[in-house]
Symmetry: C2
Subunit: 456 residues, 2 copies
């Protein structure tokens, strides 16, 4: 039984008839998306019929074909491919890590593990003692111990950070630069605790970067439970582990940004861009990261056509290539915008998962931000508001491309994202239809408002 006092809807405070018109049109878009939205079905196709789609893979090529065809079916003014070269990293095999000795006693305990993206293979089996450290400071203090050893970084999330991206930003340093920081002192491989909030043992991959000054040693993320075990053992005694990975690069491959455009009726030379990234890691279906952003972008196009909305400004719907391990798609989009001297006024990305939206985060001058903030009552009925600060990896190169360019991001609830981000659990089944579509509603609303009122 369930009889309760319903919370009152936070009704927009209409300052004038105009914002009533806006409120009604946003509700019309919301009703259309929540009733007939296709984002969820499109996500099914992308995740289940194409699957994991790392740059350079056949799946990445299939995703481009699928993206182009799907956008064309929605009849924008044009759809085109924007070619770019992308790195072509291959995992090369089933990554292997095992504890093989504890305090001199032999043992064989395989650990859940994924090599980090862009890391190079071990060239055979490496076996060495583990030096387990909790921070770069501890590594510096113990640098004399590191030569010939395997360094383990205890890169756990800080659970007290309510916004999980904050914790990710902190622990992320170990994944990105841990290998070279340890190789500098002679380490032969590094292991990290997966960047995960999940109470499970799934390893999470993700990109790493070698410092060219040091040997390019293997770098592997361990499942959280196994990492905890390893750290506990290593703190009490001498641990030996084996590592074997297979990562390598083929020559750069051809890839494409997939771009749909609706030409503006009044200010066609002012561009508004929204997008997500079409690639994903190889170990999952890239459902939240970033299938969600892709199909939300498509849904905004679909709803505009369904409601026969004619934008005043030119709107670009962009499926970016290769975000995960080099962001070449985003760089090429900015590069072409510069070459063509396009006037981009607003660029927004959805790349934080298809969860219930909490806000539209906008990076802007105080005066501009004050204007945007007046739109919060229009977003509140859809669970969102305007907050300061937002962007995305793919659109970062657009910062400052011209005086007016403003970056923004869809900011969904972040509690579940790092449970599955870059782990094999990032699959279609873990995306909720209403949450996904509600994200598209908020994206559609902000695009509509920017199109109508501009950014000044």
């Amino acid at each position: 039984m369930k009889l309760r006092f319903l919370p009152l809807l936070l009704l927009p405070l209409f300052s004038n008839a105009q914002s009533n018109v806006d409120s009604l049109f946003i509700k019309k878009m919301s009703d259309e998306i929540m009733t007939n939205g296709k984002a969820y079905d499109l996500l099914y196709e992308l995740t289940k019929k194409i699957g994991g789609r790392l740059a350079g893979s056949p799946q990445a090529q299939n995703a481009v074909i699928w993206g182009k065809k799907s956008l064309e079916a929605m009849s924008p003014d044009k759809v085109f491919l924007q070619p770019c070269k992308v790195p072509n990293w291959k995992r090369g095999g089933n990554d292997f890590v095992a504890i093989t000795g504890v305090n001199g006693e032999a043992r064989m305990q395989p650990l859940a593990a994924f090599a980090l993206g862009n890391s190079l293979g071990s060239n055979g089996l490496i076996e060495a003692e583990v030096v387990a450290v909790a921070s770069f400071e501890e590594l510096e203090k113990r640098k004399e111990e590191v030569k010939g050893k395997i360094v383990y970084f205890h890169s756990v999330f800080d659970p007290t950070k309510i916004q999980t991206f904050k914790a990710y930003g902190e622990s992320g340093a170990f994944r990105r630069s841990g290998a070279s920081r340890a190789a500098k002192y002679g380490a032969v491989a590094v292991l990290i605790h997966s960047l995960s909030t999940a109470p499970d043992n799934e390893p999470h991959t993700g990109v790493m970067v070698y410092d060219e000054a040091y040997p390019k040693i293997p770098a592997v993320a361990l499942g959280p439970n196994d990492a905890q075990l390893l750290y506990a053992l290593a703190k009490k005694g001498t641990i030996k582990t084996q590592v074997q990975t297979y990562g390598f690069f083929l020559p750069d491959a051809d890839d494409n940004n997939v771009i749909a455009e609706i030409r503006g009726s009044e200010f066609p030379d002012q561009y508004i861009t929204l997008g997500g990234h079409l690639d994903s890691w190889d170990v999952n279906e890239g459902a939240h990261d970033d299938g969600a952003g892709i199909v939300q972008t498509m849904e905004v196009l679909r709803v505009m056509k369904a409601l026969n909305y004619k934008p005043k400004r030119t709107i670009r719907f962009v499926l970016f290539a290769n975000e995960e391990n080099a962001a070449r798609g985003g760089k090429e989009y900015a590069n072409q915008a510069k070459i063509n001297m396009e006037n981009h006024i607003f660029v927004i990305e959805s790349d934080e998962g298809g969860f219930t939206p909490r806000s539209i985060g906008i990076t802007a001058s105080p005066a501009q931000f004050a204007k945007f903030q007046t739109w919060t009552p229009l977003l509140k009925p859809y669970g969102s508001e305007i907050t300061f600060g937002g962007g995305g990896t793919d659109i970062a190169p657009m910062a400052g491309i011209n005086k007016e360019s403003i970056l923004a991001g869809l900011i969904p609830d972040s509690q579940r994202y790092f449970d599955l981000h870059h782990a094999k659990t990032d699959v279609f089944e873990n995306v909720n239809k209403r949450e996904l579509h509600l994200g598209a509603v908020n994206m559609a609303a902000i695009i509509y408002l920017i199109d109508k009122y501009g950014v000044k």
Copy 2:
């Protein structure tokens, strides 16, 4: 790769040193819960070691023993049982519904189905033509057709309602009173579209109520896909279905509210109550409904003891009995409060799932509400705010129990709740640890503020 502009934290605006003290203590509670919280582990025990626990079942008795033991382990001042009599409904068998004829042609197509709670069995196999209606108005218009037929109510959720409890409130009327509304005109059974938001075929049970004036006919919820099929067929032609259900009542059983108490140091006669309900439906683990509310209630007690917090007012942690099919636990709690002339100033329930909290909804006078609203900046860092309107089925009988009594509810994000509410998918695996614990943080925060500042 994921490098983005972090949204700025919405910092509480400290009006004075006092609210700084509050902000620090709430953060201390949050850090403790997000780091060492036991709610998730307790939920595992309740769902996996006890399971579904409808009033009258052995599992419901086990849940009382488990609840008492678990609360005692947290060392409140006392733990006691408050006995109550509860209805003892049994499903009695595997509910069966099948389409057996389409336009005169025989067919045998079983449909996913759960009898509604408190409905009585069919006493053998019923077979009849279907009258499918979309509303009570349509039923009234077509009442002459109903005699001897099986009425199907197309009780779908309105997907455009962003707050799903609103849609549930609307469609819920068909589940609650559909059977008797149809029996009035001679229907022999009713079927409804499950009250579900999920894009799947899981049937959702839930309580129904017979009007004593009419025959007590079987009442069954169908899986959403099967219900859509049945409705589509019935609109085009003549459909026959079979229904067999087995529901019956045993004599009322003994059950208990499980109550822990910390005595107030300054105003021991002012009571603050928080709680959830210990029972669940028989078809699932009752993880979100309402295992979540139970373990969040326990976690608030745990964190107060862990931080050695001594409340000024008396705090009651209540695991209510029998919410689902009669709410006898809640009624008895209010009854005893009246008999003992207890002064209850604030009563809050968590019974909308263990999802990310969005607000604390409070039903209060405008003056009181204005006071509570000043606490929004203290909740914002934990994803929540104070909104108007809140309560819960178990605490509804406490309304107006004395002049000061104020009802409230933890209001989590509602997008996923009706995907699994009363369906077999409401299991531990579908609860997220951080979301669950964040709910406990917000419950702890509001209890702390009410305890410290009272309600006047």
